[in-house]
């Protein structure tokens, strides 16, 4: 689970609309590009390209899940950079996420067994592996909230 009260000031924050199409994907990558620039400006030792690629990969997987499975219409992505972590929160009002049969919906930390040559079903596991924490919540108001968090060594 993410820390309830992450330490440190907010160095960068942005919320963007994610439409369920190619331009929504472009919006995510553009927002991440701005987060990378903010990291370079604000941190003496910003995370390396592989760290950024992994975060972008996880964000792409969650966006793909929302767009292809939830039938959500427009979602929002909120990015927040702190001195030791980047957080992305996706919110949408589409169908609830349905976990694979052997995986409880709130148990995203448990990788599920799958056929090595399956052509589908790797997205959530991949996002989880690329992050420090991935959580999913369905609110009583019918909102899906995906919280992605990845930490890095604070700059001296």
């Amino acid at each position: 689970m993410p820390d309830p009260e992450p330490a440190g000031e907010t160095l960068f924050a942005e919320t963007c609309r994610v439409t369920p199409d190619a331009s929504g994907v472009e919006a995510i990558h553009a927002a991440l590009d701005r987060a990378w620039r903010a990291m370079d400006d604000a941190l003496a030792c910003p995370p390396d390209p592989l760290w950024r690629m992994l975060f972008a990969t996880a964000a792409g997987e969650i966006a793909a899940n929302i767009i292809t499975h939830a039938g959500a219409g427009t979602a929002t992505l909120a990015l927040c950079l702190r001195p030791d972590r980047l957080t992305a929160i996706f919110r949408d009002h589409g169908a609830p996420y349905v976990a694979p049969p052997d995986l409880e919906a709130d148990d995203l930390d448990a990788p599920h067994e799958m056929d090595a040559l399956s052509e589908h079903g790797r997205g959530i596991d991949l996002a989880r592996a690329a992050l420090d924490t991935l959580t999913y919540t369905r609110t009583p108001h019918g909102e899906n909230i995906w919280t992605l968090e990845k930490r890095f060594a604070p700059s001296p």
Partner: protein, 113 residues
């Protein structure tokens, strides 16, 4: 995502995907690979050198191509994976399923070895 297919004299098809190989383009990529096998190229080299981003759907397309090629008695091998592609393949354990080469030339040569 653009795909270019270059069939060599020995029948091996080099399929280069340029741009993002993601959930928006995966169906097209899967179709191009299946068509290539159906047209008689059972040995494929997928060049990922210009693939700027690949996600799990893109990996699914590659697996689809691998299965089609193996069913026809061939194989699908990956050349020039980017750092992001190598990371994604490792995180999904698919680095144990595909064979990788630092260049298209080496992938082609290994088919003939």
């Amino acid at each position: 995502m653009d795909a270019t297919i270059d069939t060599q004299q020995n029948g091996i098809a080099v399929v280069a995907f340029t741009g993002r190989l993601d959930f928006l383009s995966a169906a097209s990529a899967r179709g191009r690979l299946a068509d290539t096998v159906a047209q008689g190229s059972r040995r494929l080299v997928v060049d990922l050198g210009e693939t700027t981003f690949i996600d799990s759907s893109g990996l699914g397309a590659l697996i689809g191509g691998l299965k089609a090629a193996r069913k026809a008695g061939g194989d699908l091998r990956i050349a020039r994976p980017t750092e992001q592609a190598r990371a994604v393949l490792a995180l999904t354990s698919l680095d144990r399923v595909f064979r990788f080469y630092p260049s298209v030339t080496e992938a082609l040569a290994d088919y003939d070895a």
